[in-house]
Symmetry: C2
């Protein structure tokens, strides 16, 4: 076994051992670790900025893009948001130990499910060092040990943040192995981590589609992920067109680079003539490029003719695919074919079609008369989120604290044996 494999395997074993301790921590101690980390972040701001500066200098030296350097930067604003995030997670209710219901079997055995931590979680992410703190906070609050593997370009920043976390854990008497940052930048470390099926219970990759596919293809450990968000709004015939304009504008323009932004707009042919010109005027003003089907282009002269690759594409930019459809069935077929099971919305006044859309569309969030931008743990009321899952097992949609736990069965007997 080479060095990287040995280092990573040892981290896994230590995390597994720590997980038993972490699972038994009281809510008060877990919250104390989070609040103490927040305090230390503020106190040690200079140290963090200095470490971050090393990463930034290296990134600039390599000629990495401005957007990349931007994501890598631990500005005062980013540090403040980490501090704020820690305080919010500390304030959330602790899911561990909840037992919604006990029931009694005919033989008198009392049975129930009780919520428990998953155990050890591996986070694999790119060069946003703030994820180190955000993910550690959520995993820890849900009673898990965590191994964090951020992008190699953020290594100095991540190790500085790991030090802060270690100080907070030590101050609260919690084993340091509960939160570990992989110190190896070699990509082989990721592969080694994905092989530790005995010591890791879950892997969460966060980043581009390439990273996520790499993790899924190489992992023997269960993975929660989403590849991409190709979200649609369907504007029904008879819809309130003013409402439809506000919703579509918000879904596309409010933050175009995120996974719950609208990438495709579907318009019923009976609404198209009245809706598209006004909508196009709003989009024109905001600099949105419309790529339309022939019927769209006939109504909106400045729309560009869409090519096949535009349908189902995640633009992550002020670009939008637009198609006029003959029926809601056509819209739903389109979504089944080109959607990504992320977020789908209908704007309608019709009760039956609203209910059918809600029931039949397969996406982690389906909305009636609201913007796709609401697919977010905070917006839906789960508190913070560690990501959004578009695969169905365990979690479908935003993953909050509860999704970082599982349940076991417990049974209270008085001597029952099986007949």
């Amino acid at each position: 076994m080479n060095d990287v494999a040995a280092i990573v395997a040892d981290m896994g074993r230590r995390a597994r051992a720590a997980a038993r301790r972490v699972a038994g921590l009281s809510t008060a101690v877990k919250d104390e670790v989070l609040l103490r980390t927040a305090e230390r972040l503020v106190e040690a701001k200079d140290r963090i900025r200095a470490a971050n500066e090393k990463d930034l200098a290296a990134a600039r030296g390599k000629g990495l893009s401005g957007a990349f350097v931007d994501r890598l930067t631990l500005s005062d604003r980013v540090i403040d948001s980490m501090v704020q995030g820690l305080r919010e997670v500390a304030a959330l209710p602790d899911p561990v130990g909840e037992s919604p219901r006990l029931w009694r079997r005919p033989n008198g055995l009392t049975v129930g499910r009780v919520r428990i931590p998953l155990g050890v979680i591996g986070m694999i992410y790119e060069s946003r060092p703030n994820v180190t703190i955000d993910a550690a906070a959520l995993c820890l609050k849900a009673g898990n040990a965590v191994i964090l593997r951020g992008g190699s370009d953020a290594i100095h920043s991540n190790l500085a943040l790991a030090e802060i976390l270690q100080e907070a854990l030590a101050a609260c008497g919690v084993p340091g192995d509960a939160v570990q940052v992989v110190p190896v930048t070699d990509r082989a470390a990721v592969l080694e981590l994905l092989r530790l099926e005995d010591d890791l219970d879950l892997v969460i990759p966060r980043g581009g589609e390439g990273l996520i596919r790499f993790v899924v293809e190489n992992s023997r450990i269960p993975v929660l992920k989403h590849y991409k968000g190709v979200c649609h709004v369907y504007v029904d015939r008879g819809a309130d067109l003013e409402m439809a304009r506000r919703i579509c504008f918000n879904a596309k323009v409010q933050r175009p680079g995120v996974c719950n932004a609208m990438e495709g707009m579907l318009v019923h042919r009976e609404a198209a003539e009245a809706f598209l010109p006004a909508m196009a005027a709003d989009f024109r003003e905001a600099g949105v490029e419309m790529r339309g089907c022939p019927r769209t282009c006939a109504i909106v002269p400045e729309a560009v003719a869409a090519v096949e690759e535009d349908w189902g594409r995640e633009f992550l930019d002020l670009v939008l695919a637009v198609r006029v459809v003959d029926s809601m069935d056509e819209a739903m077929d389109y979504i089944a074919r080109y959607g990504s099971n992320h977020t789908e919305a209908i704007v309608t006044r019709d009760y039956a079609r609203a209910m059918r859309f809600l029931r039949e569309v397969d996406a982690s969030l389906v909305l009636v008369n609201a913007s796709t931008r609401f697919n977010d743990g905070g917006q839906l009321g789960l508190g913070a989120e560690i990501g959004i899952s578009t695969s169905k097992l365990h979690a479908y949609g935003p993953m909050g604290l509860e999704e970082l736990t599982t349940t076991k069965f417990i049974a209270f007997g008085d001597g029952q044996v099986r007949q």
Copy 2:
């Protein structure tokens, strides 16, 4: 792409297309398919027996073991139990469409989770043809399409059962692609199935540890599985020793070849002198071989000295590892090291130790004063089960109908956009 790959990929595509239809079926139609299948099984018994006879003749010709031939046999008793199983699943409540709770966000958006089918499930199992019917029934009732891949030695039996299912689906107007049996016996078909990550949502392997490891190592699709059941009973100091005898006897002897049978018995040293001789007498009478630690062997003369491999071993037979421990902590450390996260029980009179054992032991079912044999969907009150999961994601413990579903978020708005 070769033939096997093409056949399996085509089955996946057809299953995915059928899944949308199956998800929308009413409970009444799904139940009708199950009851109709039960009727056809009775009517077509001779046809099934004839197909099964071909498999049995081939198995005998290959010199396969009596136990193997036994599992392969569709006797009247096995056919009756399939019929009974279908009727029981039809009588269970339909989980699809349940929404335990809706909540309202400050902006007026009403949000909730609603239970939906997983989509397409792949079942990979060995040569018990009754699994074909049992698994199809559960998957279908939960609104899923299913692809069934049984052992190659059961191919004629499985295809005959598939025909029955097809007749029932057709009679109820449900697409035949909802339930498909892989007609290819080549093992390559399993590998091809495990690559269909776009068309399958879940794979459930059932069989020996070798099959399950093969599936986990080769699958890009989420897998729910358990490798083995190494279950323990810990007899605490001060326990009711008569109760402990009854529970340990039941856990070991009632059905030794199953995953929830006891494989290791841990006895507090203060209970050992009084408990072990009487327990050993019961076991002797039942033909149970005890493999003990030195302290056990000193008390029970006929106990064989255990070797290291006996600790944590799944005997699946009338053999038992026995260890005397100094404390409950030692017992829990032993369970953490040698257990398989399946089922663990304590026999005690002490309230605090009972609660600590329930809280700290990591297993899919933890019991106080009851036999490990209760880890079963039917026994715990879930209705039928499709298997027991010892990994924590999605399901931990017996998997009933609910575990064959997931939830999506829905939101009822009246024009909300994100600020």
